[in-house]
Symmetry: C2
Subunit: 356 residues, 2 copies
Amino acid sequence: MSPRGGLPEVGFDVPMTTEPRRPVTMADVGAAAGVTNRTVSNVLSGNKPVSPATRAAVMAAVRELGYQMNVTARGLRTGRTGLLTVAVPALRIDYFAELALAVVDEAERLGWAVTLQQTQSDRERELAILGGHDRLLSDGLIFQPHALGPADRDLLVSDQPVVLLADHELQADADQLVLDNVGIGREATAHLLARGRRRIAMIGPNHDPGLSTAGSYRLEGYRQALAEAGLPARPDLVVGATRWTWDGGAAAAEELLASGVDLDGLFCGNDSLALGAVHALRRHGVDVPGDVAVIGVDDTRDAARSDPALSTVAIDSAGVAATAVGLLVAQIRRDAAYAGPQTQTIAHRVVHRASS
Amino acid sequence: MSPRGGLPEVGFDVPMTTEPRRPVTMADVGAAAGVTNRTVSNVLSGNKPVSPATRAAVMAAVRELGYQMNVTARGLRTGRTGLLTVAVPALRIDYFAELALAVVDEAERLGWAVTLQQTQSDRERELAILGGHDRLLSDGLIFQPHALGPADRDLLVSDQPVVLLADHELQADADQLVLDNVGIGREATAHLLARGRRRIAMIGPNHDPGLSTAGSYRLEGYRQALAEAGLPARPDLVVGATRWTWDGGAAAAEELLASGVDLDGLFCGNDSLALGAVHALRRHGVDVPGDVAVIGVDDTRDAARSDPALSTVAIDSAGVAATAVGLLVAQIRRDAAYAGPQTQTIAHRVVHRASS
DNA sequence: CTGAAAGCGCTTACAG
DNA sequence: CTGAAAGCGCTTACAG
């Protein structure tokens, strides 16, 4: 804008002060500090000793130039990105949301970042998790398969770090944290029996044979408990639920009521189902626990806060998260203390509250 | 273990069948398909046309060798990782959890993965988000600052793609989605006034002057509504809450009741506070809405499901997430349609339910 | 449509 | 303790 008269011609050829913003590299930092990029790397990584004077000069240059490490380049060189992947069926289900957020907390505490993936219980998406992009961008995977099952053991074996969360023992060649779902169903039902209930319904089993969900195992436990009490398994008392959500629980309870079946106890596959079911029951004038005692599974935060407070089988999702992250990081670091692939059973316990 | 007698000496020097598992590279795939890595890259990226026969040969080799792209290497070359970062104060707060999960959904739909970060409203951690590792590992950032405020505008400006979610307009050089928190407080309070309440309390303002939270703006709206109705602002009706959680709401309600103040309406800074407060009120025999009408903010899922269903000021977190992801991706792609940094106000609306 | 080569920004043996 | 150089596995102008 200013006339060129007052400036030497050459002035127009010097670079503008606002250059194309080439990112600052370690070499730039080194040049400013009078060393090479190698020394900068040693200072920043702490892998090799560096003299205090050199360190100070480097750090000053880092600050002055606003240097930020190119994590992708480091990742290519070292094979580590500092990222973990968590893949669960659906984050809309409270239990998985709480589990995933617990993993984020625990990983963050140990200095790792986390990416979240949802499989929607879809086989193709579960396969994509195992072989996909994010798998290689992150250093390890915590994965709850839903559509993949025991028949897919070859797929679930991996030379990359992985911890499986499972509704049933999947195979022995990877770390896995397994729920005792039969035990959960049996103990939940036994709790209702102990409260004097005899006509106990269940909401939850999934009729999709392709899904190895917790539902079928919990149903088995429910049947075992009834059998141990000398009670028959009545199909009219069992209602399926494809989606284990609040809405699914409300709909299933409506279905139970509409069928006219007489019940005095209700075991729901998880807390979300149970809370939706309680809501529907009360809307129809059914008292909980007076007319029907209800118990869920998971002990989500909402369970303790609902009115009436929901009895449940507590699963320590924070503990599962901590264990899973610990095992995964041990694998990634090739810790000497890491004992190799193992199967751990996740603990559970019945929590008695007002709903039963 | 087996005696070497039966084997030729040379046998011990041939490589074992289980080699050190060098990862398969594009060059390996090319060698198997009779082309170079460049052609493999062209096939896999789709960036350049490749003859059908060559493509088929490459894809066959990819399958046979079980090739998985090294995403880190591609990221170093292209400057893209396919990863977005979402940073919010705390995932334990329902609104942020729902917002973050909505971002995951929307990003996934568009083919991006998401990493989640929590700042805990801590200034150091917010600065780390802006300058940290994950910033450079991901292609863009959706960030709700809490400790950083208008005074930090220089820090919030960036040459890297960013979308700010804000409780108050922060600065004009970045995309930002801003809540009209004064309006939210005013309309929530006006709703209670319209329901005939005159002694309206508020739970929420944060007394930490370092935090530019929504609380102070919503408090201002609350005062405006009272003033417009000709009512005085009574300090004894306002209770602070440092953490906007269910527990925080229950504790604040206890505090209100213990103070002996007479109230007939209650505006809570968010739904989590409100649900905790309702629980505490009812436990002390206070009827909602008979004795005290209650309204929250956010319209989290629990709001509609609680008993009584909670009135609230709905914020469309799914819409916020979709808009934020859309703006961020447009920045990353340098879309021609991208209009440059802009400020959008997030819509809200009062939802009347049973609690008022 | 394909090959040979350069280069993204780091880390790390190899010398000194 | 530091320099010069190789190489991680891709993508992409440059030739043909």
